[in-house]
Symmetry: C2
Subunit: 185 residues, 2 copies
């Protein structure tokens, strides 16, 4: 599968994400805002499956990211597996603004608030729900599958974690490609 | 030296810190706000030497804290030394709100903006200045001495770091005691 979004689509998503960051009270210099990563996971349906990522810290030891989700936009189910001596990324998700529906392993929630894109629902396997509003957080252990969706107005969330190794992330949906390729204007 | 603040002083500082957190756009549930640590470093001069700490994440691997400084309040010079196999805390300080004057090793700034309490000035040894406003950040390597002071309105700053081992912190001022003791109402 070839993964393509256009430069115009990327810029538009960056600008929209910057607007939500400002609403959420996250101040970032222009050079950081221009580096916002627009991830469509190679699925070509950014509004449904995707996330916008502002990386604040990314060292050999820790990573701090602010994730912006548009209304009902979903980050597909994935886990952060062990890698050699590294046990995998431990991650705390904290909601700064909006509402987030987060799903982690355990007893499924009977009537979950989120619905992932219908044609991909079979690739979502964990269904216990955490509803996160401003100031709520959940810590995920390494290698625990999880996925999340923004609420009606979207969501701005913090990801505080040990070292991020994006290429190591394992997605349940075999169609996902982590590296978004941006082509043309 | 016996280190004492009263319960009323602690509550008052917590409430004032909670007010600055709200101004800074940091939403935290009531139970977190009630856990804000008021650190006077055993110096008995909280307005001059001290910091208020909201801990969001504190695992075996990472720590995320929001530090609140009142106007011109100073966190005394300290470093996070190695401990056994642990190389010491690596820490990124990012300003969320207000102004922060941060000092780290290197060539001294000729006319620094901050002045630590005059009677303790001899315990401040690093003088290169970083002026941080909303969205500015500096990453400190393990064991690097540093100190900081809030600006005219105070400051609300993030501390993103590897594992925090508070009792291991080394302060330049021999009068500092890290554990604040709260006594009475």
């Amino acid at each position: 599968m070839v993964v393509i979004i256009t430069g115009a689509e990327e810029k538009s998503a960056q600008r929209r994400a910057a607007g939500l960051l400002a609403r959420a009270g996250i101040v970032a210099p222009q050079d950081e805002l221009e580096q916002i990563e627009v991830a469509d996971f190679g699925l070509g349906e950014l509004e449904q499956s995707g996330v916008q990522i502002l990386t604040l810290v990314d060292t050999e030891k820790i990573a701090v990211k602010v994730l912006v989700l548009f209304p009902y936009q979903t980050e597909p189910e994935h886990r952060h597996p062990p890698l050699g001596h590294y046990p995998g990324k431990e991650e705390t998700i904290r909601c700064q603004w909006g509402e987030l529906y987060l799903y982690t392993p355990g007893e499924p929630t009977a009537e979950p608030l989120a619905s992932p894109p219908a044609h991909r629902k079979h690739t979502y396997t964990v269904w216990p729900e955490h509803l996160l509003r401003s100031g709520d957080q959940v810590t995920l252990q390494p290698n625990a599958p999880h996925w999340f969706q923004g609420g009606p107005e979207g969501a701005v969330i913090w990801g505080f974690s040990t070292k991020a190794v994006g290429v190591a992330d394992m997605f349940t949906d075999p169609d996902v490609r982590r590296e978004t390729v941006v082509v043309g204007e």
